[in-house]
Amino acid sequence: MNYRGPFRVRAEQRPMPEILHPEDAIIRVTRTCICGSDLHLYHGMVPDTRVGSTFGHEFTGIVEEIGALVTNVKIGDQVLVPFNIACGKCNFCKQGLYGNCHESNSMATAVGAIFGYSHTAGGYNGGQAEYVRVPYANFGPTVIPADMDPDDAVLLTDVVPTGYQAAEMGGIKEGDTVVVFGAGPIGIMAARCAWFFGPSRVIIIDHLDYRLEFAKNYAKCEAYNFKSMPDPVLFLKKITDWYGADVCIDCVGCEAEGNALQTFTGKITLMQAGSATALQWAINSVKKGGIVSIVGVYGPPFNFVPIGNVLNKGITIRANQASVKRLLPRLIEHVQSGRLNPKGLITHRIPLEEVSDAYHIFSSKLDECIKTVLIPSTKH
């Protein structure tokens, strides 16, 4: 996959990745996904996304080659690779903040390193390819359990941990009402995972009926289309006894719809780091003293967010990229026990060679697309 500029990607032959550090491995990709956050790159929203980059931070594969110091995996192992690149040794990694590793991104300090996610996130090529360089192979790549479906495994690289951590950061207590903004794959997964923490209601908000219908069935939650209501914040207040939700989760990020001013300043003119409509609604819909959890991706410059309301309402905001490696043992257990069915999110399986169409389908919400898996066709 080769990015050529906003809304333009293509499949073409690229040079084979090489071992550049003794802790690197080269992985032959067996499955890779297009993530909703890849669309921010595809739409040109993330600074320092260079032409010639390969995207893709969700992938599984077979270890093809290892560096001199790699002992944790061996050639031939089938592995899933967490989307964040982490050393496992620095002070942040020691705290379990694997999304904030200090030894993998020279280009920025505010962002950890992510496969195929611009030079702001480290300048690594991603997994929407036949082969990919995986740094810190002693830490990141995790051998896929023998009894695990490969489609479940690939979703454990990002969607499931990010959805789960979104719910976890909400500090959900028994009986809570949780509102999830965005019924994309992460939002749907966050709504599903929220039940693990014991709420009495989980509500999801989006603007596309097909996604809401999917969310209702998959995540067993209430689902509402904000286009059918004059004011979503007022609506959410009304259905929560006029107090607001206990926990609001932003799974949308910088390309939110629903507010003309945010759209103009954030999406059209890029005067701020994307439209912060979902975050604005989350802050204004949560109860006083409530928790807002953010996993939606925003750009690095400033955003118009109602920070005064955060202060006046005493809201706790918790946000981060998911620390995949920390969550994997628990999530593998949930999948193996049948409590979670990640592959149920997959609606499209497309050969990697058709990556241009795959991006367009997902970006334009064609064919009721929820989650696309790309498969390098020559390998299967």
């Binding site: 050529r4 500029g5 333009r8 550049l20 550090h21 003794p22 690197d24 040109g44 320092d48 996304t49 260079r50 032409v51 010639g52 690149i85 050393c87 040794k89 620095c90 002070n91 020691k94 705290q95 379990g96 030894e103 993998s104 991104n105 020279s106 280009m107 920025a108 505010a110 390193a113 030079h119 702001t120 480290g122 300048g123 690594y124 090529n125 976890e168 950061m169 028994e174 039940w195 693990f196 923490f197 014991g198 009495s200 067993k220 209430e222 890029l270 928790i291 690095p300 410059p301 918790r318 981060n320 949930h334 409590r339 979670l340 241009s356 169409d357 795959a358 367009h360 334009s364 064919d367």
Partner: protein
Amino acid sequence: MKTENFDYKSIPGWGMDMDPENEPTYPMKNYTGDDHKRSEYEKSSQQPVDIEVLKSNERPTYSAVFGSSVPPSGLSGMIRRYAFKHSEDRYRHWIPLIIADRVNAVEGIFEDLKKGTIPNILAERGWKSELKYNPAGLAKKVFVGALVTSFVITYLARKKG
């Protein structure tokens, strides 16, 4: 809508990850109290810096490993080099990067042409899937595009005449 009689506790996994300690805690719950020793860890060996890497000026050294997918080049590279002279706190870091990305997209077209490749921009934008799944929308876009083009041509022709 909320179903009053629905037993939400029957949802597989309901409540099993409840953690009374998880009150705005993570990542603080793993805080070790030894932040003063934060530089004392066994760092991996340094990846050789044998290409141009634009390093954030908010850190003194390169990270032990880094990505090397597309080194800066051309006009966009010059703009990026300027951006990296400023910290991540400054607009003069981020705005030039966004401009450089746009310049880079144009450079990419010239790069293709230089290699003898005429980029198939329609295919790169996924027109085949648009034709398959949204033919009416595509027809509308083509119609509007043709209409705007003909207006512009007519206007310019009149101005010339």
